[in-house]
């Protein structure tokens, strides 16, 4: 799993990619938490991710909790049907905003009070 970052309108976007199953190689949570010192509006793009597991889910939910405490927010975009299903099973879809495209996520975070 590899993570690249870019910025749009002050929003930090993490493009995550990789099809391997060893999710412990890259600590998504640590990478995002470090970057979050600069901004509290974050998008995680899972377009090029085929598999996730409870470790990744734990990282995403920890980041969400941290950002909420800082009055920021997180949007996860481009979830495959499989990953959407996993989000629903662990009830993550109830607390984390997901969108099918980047522009929608950017608009939401730009208008965040």
């Amino acid at each position: 799993m590899a993570i690249k970052t870019r910025t749009i309108d002050g929003i930090l976007i993490f493009d995550v990619s990789g099809d391997d199953l060893n999710f412990l190689k890259e600590d998504l949570r640590a990478v995002i938490e470090e970057a979050s010192k600069k901004t509290t509006r974050i998008i995680i793009n899972l377009k090029d991710v085929q598999n996730i597991n409870s470790h990744v889910i734990g990282s995403i939910s920890a980041v969400k909790r941290m950002l909420s405490s800082l009055k920021g927010d997180l949007v996860v975009i481009n979830l495959s049907e499989k990953i959407s299903n996993i989000f629903k099973v662990v009830h993550l879809d109830k607390v984390i905003k997901t969108t099918a495209n980047e522009q929608e996520a950017v608009n939401y975070l730009k208008n965040l009070n």
């Binding site: 099809d19 391997d20 199953l21 060893n22 999710f23 412990l24 190689k25 377009k47 090029d48 085929q50 598999n51 597991n53 409870s54 470790h55 889910i57 734990g58 939910s61 920890a62 969400k64 909790r65 495959s80 049907e81 499989k82 996993i86 099973v89 662990v90 009830h91 993550l92 109830k94 607390v95 099918a100 495209n101």
Partner: protein, 280 residues
């Protein structure tokens, strides 16, 4: 049409199939349809990846041909989603000449082959025949499971999560071969259990082993994973929930395994998990 492809005109010896074509360019759809229908295939066309995924869920196809570059869902997205629904259906990717990077990626995701545009009729027919032949071969092997009572496979693996991809490849191969439909759910449960055994059970100690047993029969797959750790307090799985704290730092792994497998149990010590998934 039957979900099993048939041998066509014996004089020509060609295999005929039920083919799904995906391209946002109507002229390509028309041209390819014309070629394939002339060759005796049944053809369904759609102009978007999302439409294709919806259709693929409800209808059996022997082959999918998808364009690589489409708005919203591209060819790689289509492959990822279709492979989650049915591993066995071959997928051919249409791409512009010179797009090597995406071709490599599509093959890694499980595409059968690719065709570059502009294509010629002979190449199309040859690649389609090879793909339909591969599909027919897998289908013929499904019969093997009607008399298979048990295939028992045991691995003793060092405590390293980097072995996960290799063991999972074997698991997927058998699941595809045996035509299990819920492959990704089984793979996810396996990934959770194996990672737990290595990281929490054996604490990644290179001197400790994880024993993985994967048993296939015609009816089900049983996965047993045992580590050499001290075990843990086994939760009551019948009433196991994630609790009120959605942000809880642990518990999701067991919850996922319990949700996606038909049965889940631990030994008394808590260092061995047994998971079963019945054929869909």
């Amino acid at each position: 049409m039957s979900d099993i492809i048939s041998l066509g005109d014996s004089s020509r010896g060609k295999i005929k199939g039920n083919i799904l074509l995906i391209d946002d360019d109507e002229s390509i759809l028309k041209l390819l349809s014309k070629i394939l229908i002339y060759e005796g295939h049944e053809v369904t066309t759609v102009m978007s990846g999302s439409e294709a995924i919806e259709l693929f869920r409800d209808k059996q196809f022997n082959l999918v041909i998808t364009d690589m570059y489409m708005p919203e869902l591209d060819g790689l997205d289509v492959i990822r989603n279709l492979k989650d629904i049915n591993l066995n259906t071959p997928i051919i990717v249409l791409t512009a000449a010179g797009s090597v990077g995406n071709v490599v990626q599509s093959l890694k995701l499980g595409a059968f082959n690719y065709m570059t545009k502009p294509f010629n009729v002979a190449d199309v027919c040859e690649i389609v025949q090879k793909a339909l032949g591969a599909y027919a071969s897998i289908n013929s092997k499904k019969n093997f499971f009607s008399f298979l009572k048990l295939s028992r496979n045991v691995f003793r693996i060092t405590s390293d999560v980097s072995h996960l991809d290799e063991v999972s490849y074997f698991l997927n191969h058998w699941l595809g071969f045996s035509a299990f439909k819920s492959t990704w759910q089984i793979q996810l449960a396996f990934t959770e259990a194996f990672t737990n055994a290595v990281v929490h059970g054996n604490k990644s100690d290179p001197n400790k082993f994880v024993e993985v047993e994967i048993n296939f029969s015609g009816e089900e797959v049983v996965i047993i994973i045992k580590d050499e750790g001290e075990g843990f307090k086994v939760p009551d799985l019948k009433s196991y929930t994630l609790g009120d704290d959605i942000y809880a730092s642990s518990g999701r792994g067991i919850f996922l395994m319990n949700s996606y497998m038909d049965s889940l149990s631990f030994n008394e010590k808590g260092n061995q998990i047994t998971m079963t998934k019945k054929r869909d």
